[in-house]
Subunit: 219 residues, 2 copies
DNA sequence: CAAGAATGCGAGCGGTCGCTCGTGTTTGTC
DNA sequence: GACAAACACGAGCGACCGCTCGCATTCTTG
């Protein structure tokens, strides 16, 4: 059960050297997993189905992942990292000062676009019925996003009590996920309509708390 | 595989005569199913676990239900029927004329109370990843509630186009389900806080569409 | 090229799940 | 009490699932 022969117990160690071929396989497997998870959800997705979708034998899958959980965890981590890398900017101070309507556009549009391109992310966010250690990763994913929302609310309205701030952020995130589900469930004009509805809903919810006007630059 | 020996193929026939004991067993099994579904979700719930929770053998379970789907379908139908019987009144015209805030109280409070007492209902509403024919029942459940919401919106604002009305009802229902999830996930003061947040959110979303004032009685 | 590591395969193991079936018990009817 | 129908049991069947293992192939490194 020893994980590495190195004297220094490297936390992030991948004790196995990977060839380029291996990295490619991992990506294939994660793409296949994303597809299968989207279609059937995490619990009903079978590792054999993921391997088949990736055009690979079950044994090959387990060359790269110790178990089914690890696939979902790695997929969630990669998607979350990619989302923060490409769109994490939306939570910065420049946007915080915008009028609420434009703030929502600036935050929601990239998020929605990312989730439409990677619908597996929403699926993972929704699968709270998963068994085992994947629950921890699920919670981590959740917190990662919700913390950003909470911070944004805090900067925008510093007078809010910590409890109210948490409640507002939690509810705002829940509303966002709900709207995202509708958005992902439709296409074309319908999808755009639900994007507009979601923005209306969040505007109506947040306006009394955050104010509709932009905040003037601090001296 | 013949379902009945009767000459006339009765659609709604229960070809099996039930004794009082049987009806009691059915209720025990549905209660157990509700409990297990809540704990693990529909897919991960095993029929053996349901039977065990009901204090009954697997064979006995299949004396009353042809398969696992049928349990969820029957449970969903019963819960839906019971909700409409006890709280269906909230969608009537008397409430429609109230100021929006009171309208929301009148509609949401009974709904929330019912779902807190029967959390399995929300679980069934959420399990859209279920396989097989249960999907149809799931959709029926959904429509049953959403139609009520749509009608209420239609009465309150007759000028709305059918598309906008559908979008508004769908989004309102999605927001409600999201808030309900938070409410069911907390207890005591936290729960009350999320009830208030949900009402705030729906008020903010619906006020621009339905108006905040009450509608005067029609001549 | 030789050798070892990484990659790839797929039959199949242990386990669970949905569900069945043979058998025995309780209940209602005459 | 006699008889049939409804109810109850629980071992276990077939299917599938997560995962393993022995072995073949390909890559890297010297």
């Amino acid at each position: 059960m020893s994980e590495s022969k190195a004297d220094q117990p490297d936390e992030t160690a991948k004790p196995r050297r990977r060839q380029a071929r291996g990295e490619r396989r991992i990506q294939q497997l994660l793409d296949a997993a994303a597809s299968v998870f989207c279609r059937t959800g995490y619990t009903s997705a079978s590792t054999n189905a993921i391997a088949r979708e990736a055009g690979v034998s079950p044994g090959t899958l387990y060359q790269f992942f110790p178990n089914k959980e690890a696939i979902a965890v790695e997929l969630g981590e990669r998607l979350n990292r990619r989302m923060l890398e490409t769109h994490g900017v939306v939570f910065t101070f420049e946007n915080t000062a915008l009028p609420l309507r434009e703030l929502l556009d600036a935050v929601l549009d990239p998020m929605i676009e990312f989730n439409c391109a990677n619908p597996a992310f929403w699926t993972l966010l929704q699968s709270s019925d998963a068994p085992g250690h994947f629950l921890e990763e699920h919670a981590a994913l959740h917190d990662s996003i919700q913390t950003r929302i909470s911070e944004l609310i805090g900067v925008r309205n510093p007078g809010l009590s910590p409890e109210r701030r948490t409640h507002t952020a939690t509810m705002a995130f829940a509303l966002f996920k709900a709207g995202l589900g509708l958005i992902l469930g439709h296409e074309g004009a319908e999808r755009e309509a639900y994007v507009a509805e979601l923005k209306t809903a969040l505007y109506g919810y947040l306006a009394p708390v955050l104010g509709t006007e932009g905040v003037p630059a601090q001296p």
